[in-house]
């Protein structure tokens, strides 16, 4: 033997997973939707994502005064998630400000990774929405142009515009469900293709990083409320419910934002409650509020309630005897 023996408390073997590997898995899971976004919106989409990721990592490195830019990868995840919530061709400074707000106000002031209360990417997005609503959630959105990146690399995607499906009933009726599924629809980068989101989330599910309860509770609630209160366009209440699930940011939110480990409950029951709460608030804002979309606000509000949910849903221990009166 060379070197001294190591003494530690059991167990003596560890999983090969680390925080960094988890973050890389999340990045990989976002790849399909990122790819679709680039195919639809061209180089501007790619640029937005690159700026967001780099400025997020930079913000973290500056705050922590570290040289290792990638680090545990959490800043890159925040940056990419933020980019997913942005329109295809925002001004570059908007992306940078968003990333810095996300990392600093959303995460680092609370003590960095693991300590933040709110989902950093959504904090960044909320600040942008409130500050520059015109850029972020205006009525006009670039029309996606499939495979534009191959045909015309420097095509300015914001030249032709339309409204998002959530803008009103008319726009909703102009959008088919298959369009929503495959992504040929106006909206933020990550809100385009439902299918790509599901594929990515499937990867996280296989790796055990997300659990069915949050997405299930969220999507289920949106579906039920959409069907019951959505007004029943498409001639069918169920299809209306499906529309509400597929359109806008619900899937991105339910699969990637609400499932953010740090800011969602740790208990199983808590996760379900969290998902349902997100769904209810999202639909309230969509149907009755002045914002067309409520995913960001819904998840932030539920983030705030997470400590309380956790405290009230501590699971019953194995073999706990029900207290008889």
């Amino acid at each position: 033997m060379n070197g001294k023996l190591v003494i530690s408390s059991s167990p003596h073997i560890r999983t090969i997973e680390s925080v960094q590997s988890v973050m890389i898995d999340v990045l990989a899971a976002l790849f399909p939707v990122a790819l679709i976004a680039v195919l639809l919106f061209g180089y501007q989409a790619l640029l937005t994502m690159v700026i967001a990721v780099i400025s997020a990592m930079l913000a973290e490195a500056i705050w922590m005064r570290k040289l290792d830019i990638f680090g545990d990868g959490s800043a890159a995840v925040t940056g990419l998630l933020l980019a997913m919530t942005l329109p295809p061709a925002p001004p570059w400074w908007l992306v940078v400000v968003g990333s810095f707000c996300a990392i600093i106000i959303g995460k680092q002031v609370f003590g960095g990774i693991g300590n933040n209360i709110f989902n950093p990417a959504l904090v960044g997005r909320a600040i942008l929405v409130v500050s520059w609503g015109g850029h972020m959630a205006g009525q006009i959105w670039p029309v996606p142009k499939p495979f534009v990146i191959f045909s015309d690399f420097f095509y300015d995607i914001s030249a032709v515009t339309t409204a998002t499906p959530l803008a009103g009933q008319e726009q909703a009726l102009n959008t088919s469900l298959s369009q929503l599924l495959f992504g040929n629809v106006a909206g933020a980068l990550g809100e385009t293709s439902a299918l790509a989101l599901l594929v990515g989330a499937g990867w996280l599910f296989i790796k055990g990083h997300i659990d069915w309860r949050i997405p299930g509770g969220y999507i289920g609630t949106v579906f039920v409320m959409g069907a019951a209160l959505g007004g029943g366009f498409y001639g069918n209440h169920l299809l209306t419910g499906l529309f509400h699930v597929l359109a806008g940011g619900v899937l991105l939110g339910a699969l990637f934002m609400a499932t953010d480990m740090v800011t969602s409950p740790v208990t199983n029951l808590g996760k379900l409650i969290f998902g349902i709460g997100c769904g209810v608030i999202t639909m309230l804002i969509r149907l009755y509020g002045s914002f067309p979309e409520g995913v960001t606000f819904a998840i932030l509000i539920m983030n705030a309630l997470t400590p309380i949910i956790d405290n009230f849903t501590i699971p019953r221990k194995f073999g706990e005897v029900k207290k008889s009166a």
Partner: protein, 442 residues
């Protein structure tokens, strides 16, 4: 039945292939054995011999008057050369008797068969088992006869033999099941008779198909004994998990298996029980899996109790240069040792040497609340919250989170991507809680 399992658990890399196919070989008796006077949970023994005395193999050399206790026996014949504190696998020094072997292995004259099972009463069986110094050989080392004598208000109907061996690396029980199936079944019958129980179950994880096959053959024709295949998952062999998986009975929190009419014993204990009855042989040797990437020639050895671990390792070709951790027991619940200068005791199921690539010394980072520990905990705790409470010395909070129910299986620490020593924190909280409860009782 079968297929039922508990919630949670983890799937570590089992690495059993290192020794699973190696038959048990007897290690020659060493020139010197060190027999600690406490190798079990309960009252320590007092030495019955003095320095200079001559002892024979199987002679009782330590005994205690306490009920929860088990005597110790000489595992070689020879001369007592020292009685005094010696290193112990549990970390502190314990009174031990050192015997120098005369190389003869002369059995003590009292060692003789006890007759057939039919001719013995349950009381006689319990006395024989106590005299033989049997303890739980899975590592818990709880005196075996105590488990066979439950209070009369708690009738036992089922005895479960734990053949799960869910700890990675270890194969001692696996080999015993393959090589001594009939002795095992006979041991189970002894237990059934001693307890007046009617059903015997042998639970084996389904990653040991050969053991399942052999054991199923061995119980053919035994109407009240069955072999149950269990899903491969750590900690399938934990007492409460095993009982749930085989009988669907949940041991109440803070309770014992006897509260649901069950007693369980380890494979090794059952085989030793058989030998105690058939040959009158006390517990002087046991099967030890010597394994790990740091061991030159891994093996399943029959080792005399009291053999120094350094001797055992020598018999296996010594440790490799890259060894960084020496563990008594399995990698999930075993104890890391500061040196090999410790004796093999009754509960030593494995000697494990891990090398650099298996010893993760990376610093823990902040909890990212991924809740993997919550999913892995077999007893439904929230390990990260308990650890956090322990770290901030919030003992009451830890208690409210049921820290005292932790079975210390290590799943949470294993699964944690942030490398937080959760099990260690919870153990700390548990100790504090128990300490507080003791003070409150005063």
């Amino acid at each position: 039945m079968g297929g039922a399992t508990f919630k949670g658990g983890v799937h570590p890399d089992y690495r059993k292939e290192l020794t699973a196919s190696l038959a048990i070989t007897a290690m020659p008796a060493p020139a010197k054995v060190v027999i600690p006077l406490q190798q079990h949970i309960g009252a320590p023994c007092e030495a019955l011999v003095q320095v200079g005395d001559t002892v024979k193999l199987g002679q009782k050399i330590g005994e205690s008057k306490g009920f929860v206790s088990a005597p110790v026996h000489a595992s070689v014949s020879g001369t007592v050369v020292a009685i005094g504190p010696y290193n112990h696998p549990l970390g502190r020094k314990v009174e031990a008797i050192t015997i120098e072997s005369d190389g003869q292995d002369t059995w003590h004259e009292d060692i003789k068969p006890h007759g057939s099972l039919e001719s013995l009463s349950p009381e006689e069986i319990k006395a024989i088992i106590r005299e033989a110094g049997l303890v739980g050989m899975g590592g818990a080392t709880f005196p075996a006869h105590v488990k066979l004598a439950p209070p009369p208000e708690k009738p036992i109907d089922t005895v479960i033999i734990n053949g799960a061996e869910c700890e990675p690396y270890l194969t001692a029980d696996h080999r015993l099941m393959l090589e001594k199936p009939n002795e095992l079944v006979f041991g189970l019958k002894i237990m059934l008779k001693a307890l007046g129980a009617s059903v015997g179950i042998i639970g084996i994880e389904n990653n040991k198909p050969d053991a399942l096959r052999v054991m199923r053959q061995a119980v053919e024709g035994e109407a009240n004994i069955s072999v149950v295949a269990l899903p491969t998952k750590y900690p399938q062999g934990a007492e409460k998990m095993l009982i749930y998986a085989t009988t669907r009975r949940k041991v109440p929190s803070g309770g014992l298996p006897m509260d649901v009419g069950v007693v369980n014993h380890n494979v090794g204990t059952a085989v030793a029980m058989c030998e105690a009855l058939h040959k009158g042989k006390p517990l002087v040797e046991r099967v030890v899996t010597v394994t790990g990437e740091g061991v030159a020639r891994p093996a399943n050895l029959m080792v005399r109790i009291g053999t120094l671990v350094s001797e055992v390792l020598k018999a296996c070709g010594g440790l490799k240069e890259t060894t960084r951790k020496l563990i008594i027991g399995g990698p999930m619940m075993g104890l890391a040792q500061t040196s090999a200068d410790i004796p093999v005791i009754k509960g030593t199921s494995g000697i494990l040497a891990l090398t650099e690539e298996n010893v993760d010394l990376s610093e823990p980072s902040t909890c990212i609340k991924c809740a993997k520990c919550v999913g892995a905990c077999p007893v439904n705790l929230v390990p990260t919250f308990i650890a956090q409470a322990a770290e901030h010395e919030l003992i009451q909070r830890a208690e409210k989170l049921h820290a005292a129910d932790c079975i210390e299986c290590g799943c949470c620490s294993f699964i944690c991507p942030s490398r937080i020593p959760l099990t260690q924190w919870i153990r700390l909280a548990k100790a504090d809680i128990l300490e507080r409860r003791r003070q409150q009782q005063k």
